[in-house]
């Protein structure tokens, strides 16, 4: 019996052709957005998290705050951190190692072309390995910087790509690159990291970079390695206390920040979640508008097919038969919207994934779960069917004689 109504509903929807498709546009857009969001959501979060280079969970990052607190580390800072700060932090309990680092923007020249690059210092000794470990870096070609190396640099993976490095020519180990008018030799190239900062970075010895930018004492970031995860919070508190004293600021007015990788991730994920909620709200509005569209179309349809309802009643249709016909029809509008939405959402999710991957160099892939799709289909049918209840009741209540008159 229900099968008969499904066939009838399908025929009726086909008869209305374009009008049917316009009606399910709202549901279609809403479902497509939801599918894109869910298929990309987790992948997007992973991809963004990868940008933060959280390799180790036992490293705290200390930065001086500026007037604004925005911008790259070290920019806009009023009172910069110093090497002395780093030395003081090293004396705190449970601190295993302290690595003061500098970051700078350099003028780079290769193949007679100029480009702006982002450089970061590498400390000497075993701290150097630690940087590689905490940032999860590996050298793909050539080798790491040795303590005895002079005027040598290690480059991010994008320098291999002539379209991405800004020089129009691929670089290789052994090439010479001019940084702020000084010549350096490429000794290694890092493996692809999937992060737009790390893939474009120039790593060099700390003393050489400081000399290059004319800074001796200022430090942009202090990385602090703690000897156990459990001590992270305590060390963070101790560093904050120490720096408040050294910088002479009161609690609550800190012009510096000590962040754990988790805290940084949490902030990012919070922003991502906010964006997702916003998009979901838009999708829901679209679905609600779609549902209202279905109510509208079905109500019009009841009026248009008044005579048909009368005929059906004359030849023996019960009120429930008429109700079911319109109800199933509305549900099918929702369902078709859902099916098309899933198809469009999957395609968009795939394209979007490719776009994000090529933009930030990540390797995420859309993830669509079968159960989720079944739920989406059930949901879209329900939205249509619920929207159809009132028009279907209106149809069922038609008096046969009046309906036959048309």
């Amino acid at each position: 019996m229900i099968k008969d109504f499904v066939v009838l509903a399908y025929k009726n929807l086909r008869r209305r052709g374009l009008r049917s498709y316009l009606t399910l546009l709202g549901i279609f857009i809403g479902i497509a957005v939801v599918v894109v969001l869910v298929s990309l959501g987790d992948g997007l979060r992973m991809a963004v998290n990868a940008q933060f280079n959280v390799g180790s969970t036992q490293v705290l990052t200390v930065q001086a705050g500026g007037l604004t607190g925005y911008g790259p580390p070290g920019s806009g800072v009023v009172t910069p951190l110093t090497k002395e700060d780093a030395d003081a932090i090293e004396k705190i309990n449970n601190v295993e190692m302290v690595i003061p680092r500098n970051l700078a923007t350099l003028k780079a020249e290769f193949n007679n072309k100029l480009s702006v690059s982002y450089a970061a210092t590498l400390p000497k000794g075993k701290n150097r390995d630690l940087i590689f470990e905490t940032l999860d870096l590996e050298v793909q070609y050539g080798q790491k910087l040795k303590d005895t190396d002079t005027n040598k640099v290690v480059l991010g993976n994008d320098f291999l790509d002539k379209d991405k490095n800004g020089f129009g020519k691929a670089m290789k180990v052994g090439d010479k690159i001019v940084l702020n008018e000084k010549e350096f030799r490429v000794t290694g190239i890092l493996a692809k990291k999937g992060s737009f900062i790390m893939d474009k970075i120039i790593l060099m010895d700390e003393d050489e970079l400081r000399a290059l930018i004319g800074e001796s004492d200022k430090v942009d970031i202090i990385a602090v390695r703690v000897n156990s995860k459990d001590a992270m919070d305590q060390v963070k508190t101790d560093i904050e206390k120490l720096l408040r004293q050294r910088r002479n600021v009161k609690e609550g007015e800190e012009d510096f920040s000590v962040s754990t990788p988790q805290a940084m991730l949490a902030t990012v994920n919070q922003v991502l979640l906010g964006v997702q909620i916003f998009i979901v709200i838009i999708a829901l509005i679209s679905i609600v508008v779609g549902a209202i569209g279905i109510v509208n179309t079905m109500t019009t349809s009841v009026l248009e097919r008044k005579k048909e309802i009368g005929i059906m009643k004359a030849i023996g249709a019960k009120n429930s038969d008429i109700f079911l016909q319109f109800f199933v029809e509305a549900g099918m509008l929702g369902l078709i919207g859902g099916i098309l939405g899933i198809i469009a959402g999957t395609i968009l999710g795939y394209i979007g994934g490719l776009g994000i991957n090529s933009f930030i160099g990540s390797t995420m892939r859309p993830n669509i779960d079968f159960t989720f799709l079944v739920l989406v289909l059930a949901g879209s049918f329900s939205v249509g069917a619920i929207a159809g209840i009132s028009p279907a009741m209106k149809a069922a209540k038609q008096r046969p004689v009046e309906a036959l008159r048309g």
Binding site: I311, I315, G316, A317, P400
Partner: protein, 251 residues
């Protein structure tokens, strides 16, 4: 205007007609005034009759047809369909009973436009809960009977008026009803096609079906019917019965 004193049970009456109207009135409100479309009408139709309900437009014959076909309820009086007072049936039970007992043929054919000829004929059976394979077999048989075996999957829009009306006849027969109720069945057809449709109705009557035809055309009524109810001003003006070649008039 409800009858409060009559118990809500189907009334079984003696020597029941297949369809019986007893002092039936149907009034409509038109703004301030009341239109008495049917004003005290008695009609009794027996099994095997060929009845014409005849009258000019505005005589109340359409309203009478709706009441005879139990498409509408009376304002006053009783309508019995196969012994059941239809007033005491709920809408859905009435629809079921109507679908089983009466097959309708309309002046406008009234086929469902987006269903094929075969599907249109299957529809009344679907509402009676007939199994789909049986529906299909019967629809095909009926279409062949009205000589449209080669038009099964055509849509109404692809059929001529005469063909559409034959599909409508087949549809009316779908649930093998006792009564065929035809409202101006030839009204939208040319003479020749009209005669063909009338031939089908006469044939059905010969095979035992009760046929009720509503028409404004005295010639059609006299030629084909055995009993004529002549309607005027919402009342039966006269009832005539065919006796050989003459008509016996009752009031």
């Amino acid at each position: 205007m409800h009858k409060l004193l009559i118990p809500p049970i189907p009334l079984i009456i003696m020597n029941p007609g297949l369809i019986e109207l007893k002092d039936v009135k149907k009034y409509y409100h038109m703004g301030e005034s009341i239109v008495k479309a049917v004003d005290g009408m008695d009609i009794k139709i027996h099994e095997g009759d060929f009845v014409a309900i005849m009258g000019p437009s505005g005589s109340g014959k359409s309203t009478a047809m709706n009441l005879v076909g139990s498409l509408d309820l009376a304002t006053q009086g009783d309508i019995f369909l196969d012994g059941t007072d239809i007033e005491f049936l709920d809408e859905s039970d009435l629809a079921q009973l109507r679908g089983k007992k009466i097959g309708f043929i309309f002046q406008q054919f009234n086929l469902i436009p987006n269903l094929t000829a075969k599907e249109n004929i299957m529809l009344p059976m679907m509402f009676q809960g007939t199994h789909s394979s049986e529906r299909e077999a019967r629809a095909e048989k009926l279409l062949k009977m009205v000589e449209l075996g080669d038009r099964m999957d055509h849509y109404p829009g692809q059929l001529s008026g005469g063909q559409q009306q034959r599909v409508a006849i087949a549809r009316a027969l779908a649930n093998d009803p006792e009564v065929i109720l035809a409202d101006e069945p030839t009204g939208n057809l040319d003479t020749k096609t009209g005669e063909m449709v009338m031939a089908f109705l006469e044939d059905l009557n010969r095979k035992g079906k009760t046929v009720i035809m509503v028409t404004h055309d005295p010639k059609l009524a006299h030629e084909h019917a055995k009993i004529i109810y002549q309607i005027k001003d919402g009342k039966v003006e006269k009832k005539m019965k065919k006796a050989g070649r003459t008509w016996k008039v009752f009031k």
